[in-house]
Symmetry: C2
Subunit: 148 residues, 2 copies
DNA sequence: GCAAAGTGCTTGCGTTCGGAAATATATCGG
DNA sequence: CCGATATATTTCCGAACGCAAGCACTTTGC
């Protein structure tokens, strides 16, 4: 007898692999962003001052701080992200979302929204999608600020 | 107004990153397997003859064929996987699950089941977990054979 | 104040992955 | 039967990641 929780976890992992495969290509070729790049910028988008520290971003994305450093470098050179120091703590190097970055992530979000709709196009009712979103939200509720 | 389908997708991606972070470490240190290694072996486990072709595995795992080649190489050297040719089609090189592999993935599965239970330990009812598993199952239903 | 511990960030190294190209075999159309 | 196309697998190359180490700065305990 297989446990339901195990079944849910396995299916979640499989579903993610499927979604990443479906989204990754167009997101990269059209907007020049990876899926993680987009999530990073979306976190910045909803931050109070359009900025977050690198460790904060690392926790939200569930990646290592070094990954954030390496992710932000090219986006900074492209003018989508900026760097801002903290007046009180000289260790902090905030990642900021520039105007260019806001436009790019806005366009990328539209692509993501369109492809998200495609995922549930067949055999899905509105209340079922909402149900799924709610349940997944409870999984990520333990994490720092929820997205969207 | 944010679309519900978009919300569900974003939360699924975030949840996966969280789960991978929680599972990956112990799975690697205790059983010497990555999460993808485990999924690969679990697919073999439920295959009719304990074997699958590499392209079949690639489709099920949503990874490239080259990744399957690279993943199976070390597991084969450790004696968990084997290689078997097809009598009719000389191109095929089936990946087989050895007795050693069956024992290892069996132990790894127990770890995964235990940690899966931990994920839903608080604030989750049995019917909610089942509901989540069902909904996620519909997402992966379009894929080749479902796991578990 | 000051040494010690803690935190934020970056770099070097090894590992893992996808895409393109190469090889081998199979299937199809004539 | 034979050339053209399709499929299965592997290898090469570049990109992305985690971990450990290191540096800069801050906080804590005395």
């Amino acid at each position: 007898m297989t446990q339901t929780s195990f079944l849910a976890v396995i299916r979640l992992l499989s579903a993610q692999a499927l979604l990443e495969q479906k989204f990754s290509q167009e997101l990269g070729s059209v907007h020049g962003l990876s899926l993680n790049d987009s999530l990073l910028m979306m976190h910045l988008e909803q931050a109070p001052l359009l900025r977050l520290s690198r460790v904060d971003l690392a926790k939200r994305l569930c990646v290592s701080p070094s990954t954030v450093t390496r992710m932000t470098l090219p986006l900074e050179k492209l003018g989508m992200l900026g760097r801002e120091a903290d007046a009180r703590d000289a260790r902090l190097a905030y990642v900021t979302l520039t105007d260019t970055g806001r436009k790019v992530i806005g366009a990328a979000r539209q692509t993501l929204e369109r492809k998200s709709k495609e995922v549930f196009k067949d055999r899905w009712g509105a209340e079922e999608i909402e149900n799924l979103a709610d349940l997944l939200g409870r999984l990520t509720a333990s994490q720092p600020n929820d997205l969207v």
